[in-house]
């Protein structure tokens, strides 16, 4: 393999500068200089595109968000920025819609993330068995991941429809009264969480499955020699063995949950979409950000909401760190 590749290399192009009469030493020196530059510089050139694009379209806007949040800016006149210091933050703090959106983001986040990751864990455990058609089951579990938020939300909006939706029909057939999945707060939040759970459980299950397959077999052997049941093995070998992947999925899901936007927007259908229902019963921070900026034309306030979302994320991770610290200290 190695020889064939190098042969192909030398065949394509004579790599060493061919000796020439007269200017040989300068040519060689230039070659050496070129080589040094290549060794030193090429790695930076290779990683540069990533950092340039990230700096231009993510990092700079991120910093600029905080600057905008200190101004009044209208959507129609984006170049007119009026300095208002922390007014936007003060107003946001006193705005009941903000606290409502914050609360909805947290509750929908919990309702969608906790069952999702628990189910993914169970699913990964099942997929980890030796079995027939394992590829089919894995691909099937990824089908929701291939469906866009928009398509998934549209389908689930119909399945949860009040008058002719499948869920209410099924509930009715066992004698349960129809639920208004859109207008009532908790049913709406459950329905929206269902979309999130449906789309991401299989994906997370595959991440867990990959981690489970990397657990060395001798740990299971040792556990079963100790007389551990399968359930005990799952709790004491499998779960600790994939802990870092579990943390990773929690981080990803938390980031996703703070940004929840498409599901509640489309579930709310058109005119009510951005407000998250007639009474803002499922308006998330993502929706509030969009409503302030692109419906109320207040870009400064929109940026303030964005910054509040960021602070929420930071807060969540600080709390998680502290809890972890305390736990490791007590145990």
């Amino acid at each position: 393999m190695a020889t064939s590749t190098t042969k192909a290399l030398t065949g394509d192009e004579p790599p060493r500068p061919t000796p020439r009469t007269g200017g040989e030493s300068t040519a060689r020196r230039r070659g050496a200089l070129w080589h040094r530059l290549d060794i030193k510089g090429a790695p930076y050139a290779f990683v540069a595109p990533f950092f340039i694009v990230f700096a231009a379209f993510s990092f700079y806007p991120l910093i600029y968000t905080s600057w905008i949040s200190l101004h009044d800016v209208e959507l129609a006149t984006l170049d007119v920025m009026e300095w208002v210091a922390f007014d936007n933050y003060v107003e946001l703090w006193g705005d009941s819609r903000f606290w409502n959106a914050l609360q909805n983001t947290i509750t929908i986040g919990v309702i969608s993330t906790v069952p999702q990751l628990m189910m993914a864990l169970g699913m990964a455990h099942l997929l980890n068995y030796r079995m027939r058609a394992s590829l089919f089951f894995r691909v099937a579990s990824l089908v929701p991941y291939a469906t866009s938020v928009a398509a998934a939300a549209l389908v689930f909006t119909m399945i949860f429809e009040r008058d002719f939706g499948m869920i209410n029909w099924a509930l009715g057939s066992v004698g349960i009264d129809p639920v208004d999945w859109e207008a009532d707060k908790w049913p709406a939040q459950v329905a929206i969480s269902t979309i999130v759970i449906w789309r991401w459980t299989g994906y997370n299950a595959l991440l867990y499955l990959a981690a489970m397959q990397a657990i060395p077999a001798d740990r299971y052997e040792a556990a079963s020699l100790d007389g551990a049941s399968r359930w005990q093995q799952f709790i004491h070998v499998t779960v600790p063995g994939i802990r870092s992947t579990i943390v990773f999925t929690i981080v990803l899901s938390t980031i996703g949950a703070t940004q929840l936007f498409g599901e509640p927007l489309i579930f709310g259908q058109g005119p009510n979409g951005v407000t998250g229902g007639a009474d803002n019963q499922y308006q998330t921070l993502g929706l509030l950000l969009y409503e302030e900026g692109w419906k109320n034309y207040q870009m400064g306030r929109s940026a303030t909401v964005a910054w509040a979302m960021f602070m929420l994320l930071v807060l969540v991770f600080v709390v998680q760190r502290v809890v972890k610290r305390l736990r490791s200290r007590t145990s």
Binding site: V53, F57, L126, V149, A151, Q259, G273
Partner: protein, 307 residues
């Protein structure tokens, strides 16, 4: 229990590996297979079948609803078997609901983003995996750190920037911010660290090849399976990306998810038309999953192990 599980473990490595694109060595493969100790019992099959049905049913029902008509969809019990109108509804969605234009736009957007992500991720992944340079670890940590920054935070300035550039409602506004991906860089780095032997790079150097030439002639052929997987995963993400395209594009020039929101926003809701649009927008990705499901699954799992 021990006697049950032991034979399973010993014959496990003999089976041909389903994961090819992961590029693992034989020893690693053996270790991985070893974790899977028990044969699935009937209960496991039943539970897995239920999960498969739950995963697939909403899409099946999308197809059912898209193949009937609006009055049938709005009756109880809901239809469970396909009707006769699938192709006429798909044709209507293509023409009336701007889905045709949206599909072409999404194909361009997702195609360009996936190509550039793969190229830049392979370049950076190669540098992080096999080249020595000052600040390598710090830069790699920075790449990983950028994964934690949610894109929504940057949306207001980004919108202003696109207005300045004259890109509002234009496809470049969607393409440029996502030309690279930290996940992609990390994924290629993990892959190349294991799949690309140091000796090959050294041999190339001894032959006097410069770095770009080594990349072209040695790294690319070895990275190809991982690049294919990264291309597909990025394509899926770009095709389905919602928030930013929804903000910056409008209905005259939408991507598929943006066009779908408009389908549901009309005052007279034609349910089977909506479902036809949703189905149409999902079909290309479903086709990809049917053909390349194995590679996509192995790619997601390969990216996860150390994720």
């Amino acid at each position: 229990m021990t006697t049950q599980s032991l034979p399973a473990r010993t014959d496990a490595p003999a089976r041909t590996p389903a994961v090819k694109a992961g590029g693992r060595g034989g020893r690693r493969l053996l270790r991985q297979r070893a974790g899977r100790q028990h044969h699935a019992g009937p209960l496991a099959y039943v539970l897995l079948a239920i999960m498969a049905i739950l995963s697939i049913f909403p899409l099946y029902w999308t197809m059912v609803a898209a193949s009937t008509d609006n009055t049938r969809v709005s009756q109880t019990p809901p239809p469970f078997l396909p009707g006769p109108n699938l192709f006429s509804n798909l044709a209507r969605a293509w023409d009336e609901a701007a889905m045709g234009k949206a599909m072409i736009n999404s194909l361009i957007v997702a195609g360009v983003i996936a190509l550039s992500t793969v190229l830049f991720a392979t370049l950076a992944g190669f540098a992080f995996a096999k080249l020595r340079f000052k600040g390598r670890n710090a830069l790699l940590m920075l790449v990983i750190g950028t994964m934690m920054v949610p894109p929504q935070l940057a949306v207001v300035p980004l919108f202003m920037m696109m207005a300045d550039l004259g890109w509002s409602q234009q496809l470049p506004a969607v393409i440029f911010p996502t030309l690279v991906s930290a996940v992609g860089v990390f994924f290629m780095r993990q892959y190349l660290t294991e799949a690309l032997p140091d000796e090959l790079v050294e041999a190339g150097r001894v032959d006097g090849a410069h770095s770009l030439r080594i990349f072209w002639s040695i790294v690319l052929p070895i990275a190809r399976p991982a690049m294919a997987v990264l291309f597909m995963i990025t394509f899926v993400h770009a095709w389905n990306d919602f928030f930013w395209p929804f903000v910056v594009l409008d209905m005259t020039n939408p991507t598929v998810p943006v066009a779908l929101t408009q389908l549901s926003a009309g005052y007279v809701r034609d349910q089977s038309l909506i479902m036809a649009g949703a189905l149409l927008g999902t079909l290309p990705l479903l086709a990809m999953f049917v053909v390349f499901g194995r590679q996509i699954v192995s790619g997601i799992m390969a990216g996860a192990v150390k994720g």
